[in-house]
C-alpha cells in the first residue's frame, strides 16, 4: 500500500509539471505584454516590474490592427452564420436518414478536411483574381464557408442523433409537420451541443492563417496575418507590443473554453 501512495505522489508531481508546461508560456506572454522593453530584454527573466499599458495602447491604436480586427469579426462571423444556417438543417436530415447514406455524406464532409490548405488556396487565388474579388471580405467569407459548413455538418450530425426519436414520434402524433419538428423540437433539444459545434467552427476560422495569408494582401487582412507581420519586424524588435498583440489575438478563442469543454464532454461520453 505504501508503494502505491508513493507512486501516486510521483504521478501528481508529473501532472503539476505538465500543468505548468501548459500554462506558464502563455502567462509569461501575458506578463510580458505589460512590460516595458527594458524589462523584457534582460539577461535574467524578470517576474517583478512596473507594469505599463503602453503596449496595449499602441496595438489598439494602430489602424492595421483595427482593420484586421474588423475583418476577422466580419469574415469569421459571416462564414459561421452561413455555415450554421445551411449546415444545421443538413446535419438534421443526415442524422435522420438511412445509415449507409449518412455515412457516405459524413465521409464526404470529412474528406474536405484532407485537402491541404495550400492546394485550395493557390487555385482560389487565381479564381478570385480572375473574378476581380481577390483581397475582399466577400471572397474570404465564401472561402471560409467551405471550412465552417463542413465542420458544422460533421459535428452536428451526432448531436442530432442523440435527440431521442420517441420525442419526435410523439410530436407527429400531436400533429406537427416535419419542418415544425426540426425547428420546435430537434433544434432546441440538441441546442447545447450545436452551440459547441458552432463555437468550434468559429475558433477554426478565427485562427486560420495559411489561406488568409495567400488570399489577402491589404484590404481584407485578418488579425492573425496582422499579428504575424508584427512578429516579423526587424532589428529593434518591439517585444512588448508583440506580446500584447498575441494576447489580443488569442482572447476570442479562449472566451469559448467553457462552452467547448462542455461540448467535449457530451461528444466523448455519448459518442465515439
Amino acid at each position: 500500500m505504501k508503494r502505491r501512495r508513493a507512486s501516486g505522489w510521483i504521478a501528481r508531481g508529473v501532472l503539476v509539471a505538465v500543468a505548468a508546461f501548459a500554462v506558464v508560456p502563455v502567462l509569461w506572454t501575458l506578463l510580458n505584454a505589460f512590460k516595458n522593453r527594458v524589462d523584457i530584454v534582460t539577461p535574467v527573466p524578470l517576474l517583478f516590474f512596473t507594469p505599463t499599458l503602453d503596449n496595449f495602447r499602441y496595438v489598439l491604436g494602430r489602424a492595421s490592427v483595427e482593420a484586421g480586427l474588423l475583418n476577422s469579426i466580419a469574415i469569421s462571423g459571416a462564414s459561421v452564420l452561413i455555415g450554421a444556417i445551411l449546415g444545421l438543417p443538413t446535419a438534421y436530415a443526415v442524422a435522420r436518414s438511412p445509415r449507409k447514406w449518412a455515412d457516405d455524406l459524413q465521409f464526404f464532409v470529412l474528406s474536405l478536411r484532407f485537402l491541404p490548405p495550400v492546394a485550395i488556396a493557390i487555385p482560389l487565388m487565381v479564381i478570385w483574381l480572375d473574378l476581380g474579388l481577390y483581397d475582399t471580405r466577400l471572397s474570404m467569407i465564401v472561402t471560409y464557408t467551405l471550412l465552417t459548413l463542413s465542420t458544422i455538418v460533421w459535428l452536428a450530425v451526432p448531436a442530432f442523433k442523440r435527440v431521442p426519436r420517441e420525442v419526435e414520434e410523439a410530436a407527429i402524433v400531436d400533429g406537427y409537420g416535419p419542418y415544425a419538428i426540426f425547428f420546435l423540437i430537434a433544434l432546441p433539444l440538441a441546442g447545447r451541443s450545436l452551440i459547441g459545434a458552432i463555437a468550434f467552427s468559429f475558433v477554426l476560422v478565427w485562427n486560420e492563417f495559411l489561406i488568409a495569408l495567400m488570399l489577402t494582401t491589404s484590404d481584407a487582412k485578418t488579425l492573425p496575418i496582422v499579428a504575424s507581420e508584427l512578429t516579423q519586424l526587424g532589428r529593434d524588435v518591439p517585444w512588448g507590443i508583440l506580446n500584447a498583440s498575441v494576447i489580443l489575438l488569442s482572447l476570442p478563442p479562449l472566451l469559448f473554453i467553457g462552452i467547448l469543454s462542455g461540448f467535449l464532454n457530451t461528444v466523448v461520453t455519448k459518442k465515439l
Partner: protein, 287 residues
C-alpha cells in the same frame, strides 16, 4: 395547390451544392494551373502538360521537403498519441474528479490558441537571450543556446509546440474515454493481482481501440496543417531543414519565384497523396 418539398431534399441539397462547388471548382483549377506555366509576374501562359511534375522529381528541395513532411507527420502523431494516453492514465489514477476538471480546462487551453500565437509564444520562450525556456541552460552552462537555428534540433523544437497543443488536448479526451469505461473489468483484473500497467495495457486500452484509432486519424489530418507553426517559427530554416511540402509550395509560389504553376503541381500531388492515403485508412478503420 401548395408544392411540398420533402425535408431531406430541402435540407441537404443546398449544402451539397455549396460544398461541391467550393471543393471541386478549386480542385479542377488546381490541376489546370499545374499543367500550365503560370507566373505571378507575367500575364501570358500556355499549357506545358506534365513538365512541372517531371521537374519536381529532379528537384532536390522537393525531395527534401517530402522527407521533412514525413518525419514531421510521424514525430508529431506518435508523440501526441503516446503522451496523451500516458497523461490520461496519470490523471485517471492519481487525481480526484475536481482536480481532473481543473487540469482538463488547463490542458484544453493550448489547442484553442491560434497557431500563430502558439508559435510566437514558444518562439519567444526559445529566444537564446531573453527566453524563459532557454534561461536554465544559460544559467547552468553560462552560454546561450539557439534551438531553432540549429539544423539538428529545429524540427523537433517546432514539433514540441505542436505536441504542446495537441497532446494535452487529446489527454483530456482519452481521460473522458477512460471514465466512460465500465468499472467491472478493472475490478476483476485487480482481484487477479494485475499490476496497474498491466490493467491498462491488456484491459483498458484494448477496450478503447476504436476511439484511439479515430484520434490517431484525426491527428494525422491535423498534422498536415503544420504551415502556421513553421512559417512563424523558422520559415523553413535553418537552410531547408524544416521546409515541409506546404512551406516549399508556398515559398515557390509566393516568396521566391511567384511560380504558381510549379507550386500548384506540388499541391496537386499532395492532394492526391493525402486523399488516397486517408481514404484507404478510413475505409480500413471503419471496416
Amino acid at each position: 395547390m401548395k408544392i411540398r418539398i420533402s425535408l431531406p431534399a430541402a435540407f441537404v441539397t443546398p449544402t451539397v451544392l455549396v460544398l461541391g462547388v467550393l471543393a471541386f471548382v478549386p480542385t479542377i483549377f488546381a490541376v489546370n494551373i499545374a499543367l500550365e506555366n503560370r507566373d505571378l509576374s507575367h500575364d501570358d501562359s500556355h499549357y506545358v502538360w506534365l513538365a512541372n511534375f517531371v521537374s519536381l522529381f529532379s528537384d532536390r528541395r522537393f525531395v527534401n521537403s517530402i522527407g521533412v513532411s514525413f518525419v514531421w507527420e510521424v514525430l508529431t502523431v506518435t508523440t501526441t498519441i503516446a503522451a496523451s494516453v500516458l497523461l490520461a492514465i496519470l490523471m485517471f489514477e492519481a487525481t480526484s474528479p475536481r482536480i481532473r476538471n481543473i487540469l482538463s480546462l488547463l490542458f484544453i487551453m493550448p489547442v484553442l490558441l491560434p497557431r500563430v500565437s502558439a508559435a510566437f509564444v514558444w518562439k519567444f520562450a526559445f529566444h537564446p537571450l531573453f527566453g524563459l525556456a532557454t534561461y536554465p541552460y544559460k544559467a547552468i552552462f553560462g552560454q546561450s543556446i539557439d534551438l531553432l537555428a540549429n539544423p539538428s534540433t529545429a524540427l523537433a523544437t517546432v514539433a514540441l509546440v505542436d505536441t504542446w497543443q495537441w497532446a494535452l488536448f487529446f489527454s483530456v479526451i482519452v481521460l473522458k474515454l477512460l471514465e466512460s469505461l465500465p468499472p467491472q473489468p478493472f475490478e476483476a483484473a485487480k482481484l487477479d493481482h494485475a499490476k496497474t500497467w498491466e490493467i491498462y495495457a491488456y484491459v483498458a486500452l484494448p477496450m478503447l481501440r476504436a476511439p484511439l484509432i479515430s484520434l490517431t486519424f484525426v491527428k494525422m489530418i491535423e498534422s498536415l496543417r503544420s504551415f502556421d507553426l513553421i512559417y512563424v517559427m523558422t520559415r523553413g530554416g535553418p537552410g531547408i531543414t524544416t521546409e515541409t511540402l506546404d512551406m516549399y509550395a508556398f515559398s515557390q509560389g509566393f516568396i521566391e519565384a511567384g511560380n504558381i504553376s510549379y507550386a500548384s503541381s506540388m499541391a496537386v500531388l499532395m492532394m492526391i497523396g493525402t486523399t488516397v492515403a486517408f481514404t484507404i485508412l478510413w475505409k480500413r478503420v471503419r471496416g
